[in-house]
């Protein structure tokens, strides 16, 4: 048995997505920019995929720019809005401390280039306050960029309220919705979102493809220069097989969203309940305002990587915000942002579920995790100190 509970990292491509890709690879080999019929057939397929992706998020087809993934979409959106703002003397950018590195590192770079960046704190629940966003916006704010849902702790941000606020204040609003699209209902027009990033491989589509939605009227600058693809805004021969795979997966995800969401939320809550029995542990992130598939716990006294590896030996694929998984010494910036001290943040575990999972699998995880945690605590000098009372528990 192998239980894949790392769907926030990447999902298995669905059969629908694979079939769409294979038929494209075999039959739609033309370049959409070519005038001959092989090329024009490809152009039609590309157009249909654009329409499908647009519909899935309530956008118009000509507001969709295909990219190589979520990171590129984030980079282009933020850099574009920043440079456009700078032309008008606006060099202030607002975001949060819990963004993905694709956002944070782009902001870092812009800071080095002379922009001023305000990174908002989130509460212990992992949610940013709308009034904090309001307070942060200044006359020279060029962009507010706040993720739709967090990739580590799954918390859903008050995007509709923030977008409305930005619209009112006439500030461009971008959201990294990589973890949300295909999982939460989104309508960019109704929600007044100006720019939105999505990535194919987070909803059972392929990797290496994503999209940036840019509302009509919002200027977009190139990150990649060259040919006139994507209406001149993103050069490079279109990754058609991946684009149609993504469109097919997204269509499917949106069609089944309600049902999937119910299934996955039930599994999630069963898992959360099961793991809550472990003493000196805590669920990270808001219990309700969270992605249907996200479970993130912290267990005092142990370190995440060994937990992962031992769970993997038991056939469970999971993930951790421990620093050791990444080669850094600092644990995840998200866990630190919600107030976990370093030593505790090292002991985190993320289990991200999907609709293919069963209650049996959840119960298997619920049995396996406490065993591994108990073993690791048993060999942990940190736990020894806690038990002996030489140190105080952080998590009661």
């Amino acid at each position: 048995m192998y239980i894949y509970a790392d769907n926030a990292a990447t999902t298995k491509p669905s059969q629908t997505a694979i079939d769409a890709m294979v038929s494209c690879l075999k039959e739609v080999y033309g370049n959409p920019s070519s005038l001959h019929s092989a090329g024009q057939k490809a152009a039609e397929v590309l157009f249909q995929a654009r329409v499908d992706v647009a519909q899935a998020i309530g956008a118009d087809f000509n507001e969709i720019y295909f990219t190589s993934g979520g990171s590129e979409a984030d980079n282009q959106a933020i850099r574009s809005a920043a440079l456009t703002g700078a032309r008008r003397g606006k060099k202030h950018l607002v975001s949060t401390k819990i963004e993905h590195h694709a956002v944070l590192h782009t902001l870092d770079k812009l800071e080095n280039e002379g922009f001023e960046v305000t990174l908002l704190e989130v509460g212990p629940d992992g949610i940013v306050k709308v009034e904090d966003v309001e307070k942060a916006i200044r006359p020279d704010t060029a962009l507010v960029t706040i993720m739709y849902a967090n990739n580590e702790i799954g918390t859903i941000q008050p995007i509709t309220e923030i977008a409305a606020l930005c619209r009112e204040k006439k500030v461009v609003f971008h959201t990294d919705a990589v973890q949300a699209v295909g999982h939460l209902p989104i309508n960019v027009h109704d929600q007044q979102i100006d720019m939105l990033s999505l990535s194919g491989h987070k909803f059972h589509g392929p990797r290496g493809v994503g999209a940036l939605y840019v509302r009509k009227g919002i200027p977009l600058r190139n990150l990649i220069e060259g040919g006139a693809q994507e209406r001149g805004k993103r050069a490079g021969t279109e990754n058609l097989p991946a684009i149609v795979g993504m469109a097919a997966a997204l269509k499917e995800a949106v069609a089944n969203m309600e049902e999937n969401s119910k299934t996955v939320t039930a599994l999630r809550d069963r898992l959360i309940k099961g793991l809550s029995h472990i003493d000196h542990s805590r669920l990270n992130g808001d219990p309700v305002k969270r992605l249907p598939g996200n479970v993130n716990f912290v267990f005092e006294g142990i370190e995440g990587e060994s937990l992962l590896l031992l769970l993997d030996d038991k056939g469970i694929a999971a993930s951790s915000g421990s620093a050791c998984t990444s080669g850094s010494l600092d644990p995840s910036h998200v866990l630190l942002s919600i107030g976990l001290p370093h030593e505790v943040a090292h002991g985190s575990l993320r289990l991200s579920l999907d609709e293919s999972m069963t209650e049996e699998e959840i119960d298997y995880i619920v049995n396996a995790v406490p065993e591994v945690v108990a073993y690791l605590r048993d060999i942990s000098p940190v736990w020894e100190d806690l038990v002996k009372g030489d140190k105080d528990y952080v998590i009661q």
């Binding site: 990587e305 050791c324 080669g327 000098p381």
Partner: protein
Amino acid sequence: MLYSEKVMDHFRNPRNLGKMEDASGIGEVGNAKCGDIMKLYLKIDDQGVITDVKFNTFGCGSAIASTSMATEMIKGKTVQEALELSNKAVVEALDGLPSHKLHCSVLAEEAVKAAVKDFYDRNGIPYDEKTLAASDMAEHAHDESGLL
């Protein structure tokens, strides 16, 4: 693979795991903030031979494997020989570690030295600080890939 088979073997089946009631010397190195703590217990006989070793580790796979390997390498050796254990030797015995995990082997070496130092201190044995300094310092790569 992230880790060699040797590392995974020592991680899955750590040698000399446990605590020791009547240790001759105990070394604890690392800190929880950085995500690694190793605690090493030595039993040393009158000849200065390490007759038993135990360890506990809070840390990642390579931290556990490095401590396990270090205990195996010094068990039955004299204290002098144990002090010669380098992190490099631990890494080699493990068939290598990823570069950003080298600090685990350094900690293992330090744990041995700390335990010997404790033994010296307890017994009032004089020593040269230099012999107790770590042989090498791995760079602490700050590579934040984070969660995906």
